[in-house]
């Protein structure tokens, strides 16, 4: 079988490695994945990167490629969803009901709110949107510590640098150093979506089969194990 090359957002590594192992086992097909920032991957595809399939961490970079006709439009779909949660380092921190009027500033005290960089990192963008929707943004806008990735934000919380952080549920679940104290209402932010598509340049005859596999129930458990929501 032909090799299938996946360009995928770095946060998908654990889940996708497992899916790929399963795909290899079942089809004896060859698959390789390159994990990096969605931005870098999109630009590489633009410059002729050897990707057959692109899985972005947000819609923006998929849209970017779609506009340039670099993906096969009919192959595009939303693969995964995620939830945004509030985490705390303190084991004794109580649950927080995330809603409009929450005294987030009070919770933070003189600490900072760790999250992905609000302009660039997808989780940061979602987080900012949610806070704005809930009217909490003005209160914490200058208290935010924008990290280079969700993982870094999580680290800031687990190291006690920041009392609270906004991260994906998938990340929070896997880190015993932090406690999930609240989940953002699903309607408070644009849906967190990991879109998938076959690139326009893809020549691998197995790309479509792989795409089908990833979207099939056979792959779903691996994503769910990492805390992702598998979208239909």
């Amino acid at each position: 079988a032909e090799r299938v090359t996946i360009f995928a957002a770095a946060s998908l590594k654990n889940a996708l490695d497992a899916v790929n192992a399963e795909w290899k086992r079942q089809t004896e097909g060859d698959v390789t994945a390159s994990y990096a920032a969605s931005s870098a991957l999109a630009k590489q595809i633009e410059q002729g990167g050897p990707a057959d399939i692109f899985i972005s961490a947000d819609l923006a970079w998929m849209d970017y490629l779609a506009e340039k006709n670099l993906i096969k439009a009919d192959s595009r779909s939303n693969l995964l969803g995620n939830r945004l949660v509030l985490v705390s380092a303190k084991a004794d921190a109580g649950p927080v009901d995330i809603k409009a009027g929450l005294d987030l500033a009070g919770l933070l005290g003189d600490g900072r709110l760790a999250m992905g960089a609000v302009d660039s990192v997808p989780a940061g963008k979602y987080g900012k949107a949610a806070l704005e929707k809930l009217g909490l943004w003005p209160m914490v806008a200058d208290r935010v510590a924008g990290s280079e990735s969700v993982r870094a934000a999580l680290l800031l919380v687990s190291r006690g640098e920041a009392p609270y952080g906004i991260v994906y549920q998938t990340d929070a679940a896997a880190d015993s150093g932090v406690k999930m104290v609240g989940t953002f209402p699903e309607d408070s932010h644009p849906p967190i979506i990991y879109p998938i598509a076959i690139t326009a340049d893809s020549a691998s005859p197995d790309a479509a089969a792989y795409l089908d596999f990833v979207r099939s129930p056979k792959a779903a458990p691996f994503f769910e194990a990492q805390g992702f929501t598998v979208l239909k």
């Binding site: 931005s39 900072r112 960089a117 302009d119 660039s120 280079e148 870094a152 800031l156 190291r159």
Partner: protein, 233 residues
């Protein structure tokens, strides 16, 4: 060149970058000089280990360096906690942390340059100074230091340039807080992460280049002046 007009936030990033780079460069100078001296002249057990340690920030991916800084110098880190309590020096989420990250990243470059110059110094001149009554410290100040000026300048240039371009360790260690830790490099990085951010990234990149070039030319002038005086006799 309206396109080049900087927003207030961008101006802040420029000022911050210059401050961070300058502070990083200057504050690492004494320790780098000491380390270079020890590596060039010292003979002791564990010298290889020290040498390795100095090169660490180069060998490790910047993100890892940032993690390590966070672990050590963060609010809860052993050194960070100590400094915060006893010296009142706080790094986390402060521009000082950005400067620390840049200083650490530039450290191996600074040490190597200085070490190279120290190793090239003719020890016989130091001997001559000693016969004239100069103590080791005085010899260092009046003979060694002027003679290694090219290495010091080179080290400072590399450290400054590195600080201008550093974002991996910085953003990991102290995040990306506009006006506090968002240096030009971090701002550029941020731009590259959003579709359509290319123009902004380009603009900031040009600014960064212009600033660095100015610093570079200044350094060359200084180095040339120093060299003119130390043509080997």
């Amino acid at each position: 060149m309206d396109w080049m007009a900087l927003s207030e936030a961008e101006w802040t990033a420029v000022r911050l970058s210059l401050r961070v780079a300058t502070v990083a460069m200057l504050s690492s100078l004494p320790l780098a000089l000491l380390t270079a001296m020890v590596l060039a002249r010292g003979r002791f057990w564990g010298k290889s280990a020290l040498n390795g340690l100095v090169h660490m920030p180069l060998i490790l991916p910047p993100v890892v360096t940032g993690f390590v800084l966070l672990l050590l110098f963060g609010r809860r880190g052993p050194i960070g906690a100590f400094l915060a309590e006893h010296v009142g020096l706080v790094f986390s989420f402060r521009w000082t942390g950005a400067a620390l990250a840049c200083a650490v990243m530039g450290f191996p470059l600074m040490v190597r340059s200085m070490r190279l110059s120290i190793e090239a110094v003719d020890r016989k001149l130091e001997d001559a100074a000693a016969t004239l009554g100069a103590s080791p410290a005085w010899i260092f100040l009046t003979v060694t230091l002027p003679l290694i000026l090219p290495g010091i300048v080179a080290g400072m240039v590399l450290s400054f340039a590195k600080a201008m371009g550093e974002f991996g360790a910085t953003i990991t260690f102290v995040s990306n807080i506009p006006g506090e830790t968002q240096t030009l490099a971090v701002a550029i990085y941020t731009f590259t992460q959003v579709p359509g951010g290319d123009a902004g990234a380009m603009r900031l990149t040009i600014i960064s280049i212009v600033l660095s070039m100015a610093a570079l030319i200044l350094s060359e002038i200084l180095a040339a002046a120093a060299a003119r005086r130390t043509v080997s006799a």
